[in-house]
């Protein structure tokens, strides 16, 4: 990042822009880049989900708008832009309008702390994992905000139910994360990635000693994202209005798109923790082998980012596969499942990992 800072200052100096301007604006650039990259990713993700669901149910997904349906999300966003923005009369207008904006914000810090390659991460803090936990829980507050500000009894019930569900799945996730931190002896995401470095590739990844942790983390991610089979708060909008009932038009689009951005962020996080982040599954990187010397040394960083995104999309595929297969769980059963089964299993798993680590079976 330092190198980029100096490049930026040099670039501005060519046009005689003072350095203090560069100092201030430099730290906004990552956010802007992430934001625009996020838009592209969301576009892609919404389309991928619909195409995959179509494939699982023997249909074609959207294929009319743009080649292979690529512009479908753009068409949807334009449609939602043209809809009327209704604000309920007695609602708290400031908070009502604030909720859909705030729900998009926590994703950007999360995407900023993930190590995309061994040299590059937008922000490198010592306690990356904790930052993730904090920001991943912020959308919950925005949901409560939206549900309460709608001035609709059933919106509030839906939002509260949603919070109960997310809280129930936070604890098993936290215990799993402690297990990972124990395995890697660090809570910095770059260190965790390096701790999975092994000449044989896949063998060193944390999914192998901690397979139960991976499954628990996967289930908790599904619950945090309100995805099937845990999407009762959303589907309940058939019967009792969910938290986003009173939202129409672009504000509804914000809630909808934020779900996909959180999906991407969460799956990136899981791939860093369990699947070795930017490490290659073959142990060695392919770029120096396949490409000539001069490009190969730089291409290695892009290859690392490529591996990371590939793993993340693998997990997204499994998430969509689960959605296509399973029916919804009812809310009481869901909470029972989390408190009575997931929590004890995750605690036992933590002990198991610590014993493995102390016994020296993993580095």
């Amino acid at each position: 990042m330092n190198m980029l800072y100096f490049l930026y200052i040099e670039f501005l100096a060519k046009y005689n822009i003072p350095q203090w301007f560069g100092d201030i604006t430099f730290y906004f650039i990552p956010g802007i880049i992430i934001f625009f990259a996020l838009l592209v990713v969301i576009l892609f993700l919404v389309l991928i989900e619909r195409k995959l669901l179509g494939w699982f149910t023997q249909r074609k997904g959207p294929n009319r708008v743009g080649l292979w349906g690529v512009l479908q999300t753009v068409a949807d966003a334009l449609k939602l832009l043209c809809k009327e923005n209704i604000t309920p009369d007695k609602s708290n207008k400031v908070l009502f309008n604030l909720a859909p904006i705030l729900i998009f914000l926590p994703v950007i810090p999360i995407l900023g702390i993930i190590p995309y390659s061994s040299e590059f991460t937008f922000v490198n803090l010592r306690t990356n994992m904790l930052i993730f936990i904090v920001f991943a829980s912020l959308p919950v507050l925005c949901i409560l905000l939206g549900g309460w500000a709608s001035n609709n009894k059933y919106s509030l019930i839906g939002a509260v139910r949603n919070i109960a569900q997310i809280l129930a799945f936070e604890l098993p996730m936290a215990f799993t994360l402690i297990g990972i931190a124990a395995l890697a002896s660090s809570i910095n995401l770059s260190d965790i990635t390096l701790a999975q470095n092994n000449a044989n590739g896949v063998v060193g990844w944390f999914i192998i000693p901690n397979i139960i942790g991976f499954i628990i983390m996967f289930i908790c991610t599904l619950a945090e994202l309100n995805r099937c089979p845990f999407d009762l708060p959303e589907a309940e909008s058939e019967l009792i209005c969910g938290y986003n009932t009173e939202y129409s038009g672009m504000r509804f689009a914000m809630f909808y798109l934020s779900e996909y951005s959180m999906l991407f962020a969460n799956t990136l996080f899981i791939s860093v923790l369990f699947l070795g982040g930017y490490l290659s599954p073959f142990g060695k990187y392919l770029a120096p082998i396949l490409l000539p010397e001069s490009i190969g040394n730089v291409a290695i960083y892009f290859e690392q980012a490529f591996w990371l995104i590939l793993k993340s999309f693998l997990i997204i595929f499994i998430v969509i596969w689960v959605r296509a297969t399973l029916p919804r769980m009812a809310s009481f059963d869901l909470l029972k499942f989390s408190w009575c089964w997931l929590l004890p299993i995750s605690i036992l798993n933590l002990f198991f990992i610590i014993i493995l680590k102390c016994g020296g079976l993993c580095a």
Binding site: T57, K153, E236, L239, P327, R328
Partner: protein
């Protein structure tokens, strides 16, 4: 807030395929304390129209009483007229009628499976069920020109002879394997069992008191199948599916088993058609047809229960009074009792398991 009493309106528009049924629920917190069904959104005046139209003019309308089981109501109407005019059908025509009736029953049950699982949140079985149903509907289109509402049965026979049975044999070959697919993905699925087992318990004595027949009654342990005493089904060997479960899961399982029994009947009917190769239909002059004075009643086991047609004729070209008795009419009435004391999560699932179709209710 939990102890508030509230009226919640369910419908008449549903995200799932229930038709235009409106349920007005009284809620006490989460539990339903009273349920009142409000029907009549699809009332077309079928019974009044019959008094003005001649018999042959009314025949195409009869399929539309239940669009998923059009052949059954067509058969009912034709049977009443044939009983009145004392017409005996030839064996080939009887065998063709049985084959088409049972294929229609399979199509109706397949759609129910898809719609029920869609209610519960699983999106794939809907498309798989439609894939199989498509084969049956394409065969109907081949022989009668229409996929549903075929208008194929006439008084004394059929509109014309069927010319090939290859498609039916293809269906008989493909369907049993696909049903195994459904069983694998749905029947033992723990989430599905959690949502449907022990929900919507219906005792046999209650069912009889409320006039419930068909699969709903047979799942409560009571053996009542009109096909066993129906002259049309003379000589066919099949088992009546009677289960002791009394809950929604039992109703699902009973319908899957009924599809298997219907496949057996279709196979026997195809064999009958091949042995009786002479097609003779009784010639009746349909224009200004009159039937002798009197009361004529015919009954049949439709997919949703006992269906009957009661005609009172006074010797004119239109009946004096025509009354339809359908299975879903009484199932909607049963919802008054069945939904009381359940949670609102389960309400849609229980209502869906009774297989209600609104055109039958509203006539």
């Amino acid at each position: 807030m939990n102890n508030s009493r509230l009226k919640l309106n369910l419908g008449p528009q549903h995200p799932s395929t229930h038709g235009v049924l409106r349920l007005v629920l009284d809620l006490n917190g989460e539990k339903i304390t009273a349920c009142e069904p409000d029907v009549g959104y699809l009332h077309r005046g079928m019974e009044k129209m019959a008094e003005k139209l001649s018999y042959i003019q009314y025949l195409p309308l009869v399929d539309r009483i239940d669009y998923l089981a059009g052949f059954f109501y067509s058969e009912l109407f034709c049977r009443s007229i044939e009983n009145a005019l004392e017409i005996e059908l030839s064996n080939r025509i009887k065998a063709i009628r049985v084959m088409l009736l049972e294929l229609n029953r399979i199509a109706s049950h397949l759609l129910w499976i898809g719609a029920f699982l869609m209610d519960l949140g699983a999106v794939s079985p809907f498309f798989y069920a439609f894939r199989e149903r498509e084969l049956i509907l394409q065969y109907f289109e081949k022989i009668s020109g229409q996929r549903m509402m075929n208008n194929y049965f006439v008084f004394g026979g059929l509109r014309h002879d069927i010319f090939d049975l290859d498609d039916v044999e293809e269906i008989l070959r493909i369907l049993p394997e696909k049903i195994i697919d459904y069983e694998n993905i749905i029947t033992e699925n723990p989430i599905f069992i959690q949502r449907t087992a022990q929900k919507g318990i219906l005792e046999a004595s209650d069912a009889i008191n409320y006039g419930i027949t068909g699969v709903n009654l047979r799942t409560s342990g009571f053996n009542f199948d009109l096909r066993k005493t129906d002259k049309l089904y003379d000589g066919y060997e099949f088992d009546t599916v009677v289960l002791e479960n009394k809950d929604s899961w039992g109703r699902y399982k009973a319908r899957v088993l009924e599809i298997k029994e219907s496949i057996k009947i279709v196979a026997q009917a195809v064999a009958n058609i091949k042995t009786n190769t002479i097609y003779e239909a009784t010639k009746i002059k349909p224009v200004n047809l009159t039937i002798p004075e009197g009361e004529y009643c015919s009954e049949i086991e439709a997919p949703r229960g006992l269906a009957s047609c009661f005609i009172i004729s006074d010797g004119n070209k239109a009946p004096y009074r025509l009354k339809w008795r359908t299975g879903s009419y009484y199932a909607v009435n049963l919802l008054r009792k069945l939904l009381v004391g359940t949670y609102i999560n389960d309400a849609i699932a229980i209502a869906g398991s009774l297989d209600i179709i609104l055109p039958e209710v509203d006539k």
